[in-house]
Amino acid sequence: MTSRTDGATTTTARVRATLARRHRGEAIFRGLGILAVVLALGFVAILFTTIISKGLPSFQQSRLHLEVFFDPAIIDEGPAPVHEPGQSDADFRAASLKWQRNLAMLNWNKIVEDAIRRAAPEGFDIDSRAALSIPETSERHMLREMFVQNPDLLGKTVEVSMLASANVDNWLKGTIDRSLGDAQQQLAAPARELADLFAENGTITRDFAWSLFFNVDSRAAPAAAGLAGAFMGSVYMMLIVIVLAVPIGVASAIYLEEFAPKSRLTDLIEVNINNLAAVPSIVFGLLGAAVFINTLHLPLSAPLAGGLVLTLMTLPTIIIATRAALKGVPPSLRQAALGMGASKTQMVFHHVLPVTFPSILTATIIGVAQALGETAPLLLIGMNAFVAAVPATPLDQATALPVQIYLWQGNENRNFFEARTSAAIMVLLALMIVLNAIAIFLRSRLEKRA
């Protein structure tokens, strides 16, 4: 018992011999992991910096602060009709619409122009076209709206804050080369001069662009365009997708993985679901148009139809991911539950699902995010549209954030295809981050409870 038979020592020696190589392998592997994460994060960082650096300027916007005189000489429409007793609602509405319509026909541009001239230095030479190119064109409607709300304004002068036009905004922000000649400029020379003057004397200020959040889309008045309608449309669709796709997706995954007899038929269903994930999204649009619009007569351009289409599109993602998660649950857990006299349903809902919950959340996030960023399928159900209203219900016409992004980036005005597009992307991303945050919050809470 003095000398050890050398079995063990040779073993150790052999282990040692390969150790360096194995550790190198380990280091490489770990390095690759870090590299992968760094690369992935790097992509995120690059994308974010690009988007944010482009989008940030559009969160600021030039505004004019003008004294507006509601000139009775121009506004000569008489008082607003009142609801007389005995008059039917419909009749009253007709009368007041007529009044408003007549108001709309008035020359509000003249009122705006007067206000500009009043603000300009004495004797500043500017023609009316150039003068009107300073405020955004939609602001005359804003004045009219003010007047409709409050007819007492007639004959009064009030200070009104108006949006400056997109061209003025670009000029003042310097997004357009100031040294270019007249021919290459969007604004006439006197308008540029006046804009600079206004910026100096505080008639034009740079404010936070609330309009971006609270206005609806606008073509005629690029500076007034906002995301409110698209945002609501996206929110509705997201809710529909979450409410429908998640339960249906998880339920079918459960059925296929836990309940369905393993047969040709289930194989077929499995293949079929995997296949659906590869169907180009626009084809779902075709399907949606055929089923939801033409057969079920859902309204066109409505988030309801859009949400349903996106639900169908998201389903495979959620089903596949959930099934993958269910497959990973160790059999001993299932047996423990069944052995306790739990029914299959109870086993699934009490034990298997809680364990797979994080994966299901991940699947949901990815699926919903994908749906949230999708444009093509909306094309065919009329949601790829210019909609100038905030939808009040999921049945109203609406558009969606990615659609807005798509429309804006295709717009010829640089105000849109550069800054606003990026700003819209930022809003979309913010929405997604909120969604993510909620999911993570839920995940951590549920993990704690388990």
């Binding site: 026909m105 290459q184 969007q186 066109l300 909609v387 100038a388 980036q409 010829e412």
Partner: protein, 321 residues
Amino acid sequence: QSRDTIQIAGSSTVLPFASIVAEEFGAAFPEFNTPVVGSGGSSGGLRQFCEGVGENTIDIANASRRIKASEVEACNAAGVNDIREIQIGFDGIVFATSADKGDFALSPVHVYKAIAAKVPVDGEMVDNPYTTWDQIDASLPAQPIALAVPASNHGTREVFQEKVVSAGCEEAGLPEMSEDDMEAACTTFRQDVVVEIAGDYTETLARLQSNPDTVGVFGLSFYEQNRDTLKVATVDGVTPSLETVAAGEYPVSRPLFFYVKGEHIGVIPGIEEYVQFFMSDAMAGNGGTLEGAGMIPQPADKTAEVVSNFENGVSLTASDL
């Protein structure tokens, strides 16, 4: 209750104009909602238009080309019989380069020689040998040839093909060959220097940014809005502008349309008013809002004819086309 918002869809060229009108229409007519204007291309718009009659189909289809006989037939088959055609004006198509590049004075034959896969050299068809513009014509800048042209799904492509390339092809004096071969020779493009753009003009603009030597094809209105970064080329010595196109001097332009579903008039509120508003002087007329947005107005008598046809309920049939 029935739908109370007009539904429009179709060409992305018409989209900006229609959107502006829709918005102004909503502002001017408090009793009507602002119409919803969808994109999806002329084809997509007309497809939806011809889906049938009823609330869940669109009322108006925008198109950057005329409706085709086959489409009218498809429409009729689905019960859409009262198709009213409205021509709204013109769209000019221009060639432009980055603003810091040399001036281009193009003619169709230059473009043909730059773009065709095979060109005649000494009466023989050979693989296109040109690599810079000045090899084609000494008057052009010595700049590598690169072109961004609309892809074949674009209406613009048709115009570009017809009014520029085919015209240039004829001028170039091709050797004798069969009609089919001739056609192929005129329509086959080089793959190396030509990029086909399937998306919007912003995409073309992005191409110009990623390769500054590119000569791109744009809509006139797009160019108007981006004069600081783009420089336009003359074609046959004519500088494209609202005036030259309207006067018919600038050769490359196309008419724009929209189609109204007669069956919906009176059911969906506001369709008639929308059409009249669209065609009013303040919108589509000379000096109107749409001209400011880059649409080239058509002569006033044409507009009057279009409107009276509409009001008289003249509907289009396949045999008209």
